[in-house]
């Protein structure tokens, strides 16, 4: 992993954690092609290539939910790698395989793979269907229809604060559902 990537990502994530949502978005967008390369590489090793984008989304979700555990005085590369590795191992378990994913491998070789968004991933779709309202409505409004939290709040007649809380809960539920599906 190059030094400039390390600097870029740690700066963006630090700003994101401070409350700068534009920086946070740029961080996620910048990290994604590398996660994708990683996911595709490991998934193809286990003939699970179709799951690659699912893994990318799971890793992004985990990065988001656990972003409070990154110490901004430390490099961000090992932090991302540890999360990615953890989710890769979960996927392998789902495929009924025991596998060792050496952490050094994850940090050192982050292949880059960009692409115009591939197919809609089936896993997250089926998980989203398990959400109850208003969580489901909020998720659909924001992700599918591109509304902001404020718009969604107005549309649903809720306060911005409660929309944020419901959204956070929806993401935690999604992560739980992913985890349960790996049993």
């Amino acid at each position: 992993m190059t030094d400039s990537l390390e600097v870029t990502w740690s700066t963006l994530l630090a700003q994101g954690n401070d409350g700068n949502s534009h920086a946070y978005k740029r961080f996620l967008e910048s990290v994604t092609p590398y996660l994708r390369g990683l996911a595709r590489y490991h998934c193809s090793q286990f003939r699970a290539s179709a799951d690659a984008e699912d893994v990318v989304q799971e890793i992004l979700l985990a990065i988001h939910l656990k972003r409070s555990t990154w110490d901004c005085r430390r490099p961000v590369g090992p932090w991302i790698s540890a999360i990615a590795r953890n989710k890769l191992i979960d996927l392998m378990r789902r495929r009924g395989r025991r596998v060792e994913v050496p952490i050094d491998e994850v940090i050192d070789s982050l292949p880059y793979e960009d692409c115009i968004d591939p197919t809609v991933t089936p896993s997250i779709e089926s998980l989203l269907r398990q959400l109850a309202s208003p969580q489901k409505d909020i998720v659909e409004l924001i992700s599918l229809e591109g509304h902001t939290v404020r718009d969604a709040a107005q549309q649903l007649g809720m306060s911005e604060g409660s929309v944020r809380v419901a959204l956070h809960r929806a993401l935690k539920t999604l992560a739980d559902l992913y985890r349960r599906s790996s049993k």
Partner: protein, 213 residues
């Protein structure tokens, strides 16, 4: 949902994270745990009647300091373990040293006591009350700590659970020292260590199930 849409979702959900988030959660769990342990002690076992005079003795403070050092050492390790990609290494020293000090003190004390009494000091009722009392007292603290650690991302779940148990046991030791009348390290050393080992083992077992993310 396409990845691009998921990123939109995550961005909209991004509230600022305080830099002291992990620290604050641990602090709250420890304070809460201490309160609950002390209340439980007062309710179930009672504080020793000579507490005011006891607080002037070295024995009282050795026990309390042991608990305090284990607590701080344990929390530092637990905090490191809660962050993915961060090795613990040197922080283990904070936990190993108080254990080593007590173990050595225990051995020295046993060696220095007159023949016959030494083994009796160690083994007399070793398995009874004291370690079990400490383990019992540690339960609310363990619950508080595991709950505090739930949003974190430990990569070694059993170890993280075990250290949470160690911290809970140390909190219980702190509370228990308000009651324990024992003076010699030969008496309390082994029992306190065992009392901390029990919640640590429990934490090791339930950690992987409870702390998964």
């Amino acid at each position: 949902m396409k990845t691009k849409q998921l990123i939109e979702l995550l961005t909209e959900c991004s509230t600022p994270i305080g830099p002291r988030y992990v620290r604050n959660r641990f602090a709250a769990a420890i304070v809460g745990g201490l309160l609950m342990c002390t209340l439980l002690l007062v309710a179930l076992l009672g504080v020793r009647s000579d507490i005011s005079s006891a607080m002037t003795t070295a024995a009282f403070w050795s026990k309390s300091l042991f608990g305090l050092f284990m607590l701080t050492g344990g929390v530092l390790v637990a905090a490191q373990l809660s962050k993915p990609g961060q090795a613990v290494r040197g922080a283990w020293f904070g936990v190993i040293s108080p254990i080593a000090v007590v173990a050595v003190g225990l051995i020295v004390d046993v060696k220095n006591s007159p023949d016959g009494t030494a083994w009796r000091l160690l083994s007399d009722q070793l398995w009874r009350r004291c370690p079990l009392d400490i383990a019992l007292l540690s339960i609310p603290a363990l619950a508080a700590l595991l709950h505090a650690m739930k949003p974190f991302a430990p990569t070694k779940l059993a170890v993280a659970g075990g250290v949470a148990g160690l911290v809970a046991g140390s909190i219980a030791v702190l509370a228990y020292s308000l009651r324990c009348p024992e003076v010699q390290m030969a008496f309390w050393g082994g029992r306190y260590l065992l009392g901390i080992a029990i919640p640590s083992a429990i934490g090791c077992i339930i950690g992987p199930r409870f702390l998964r993310w």
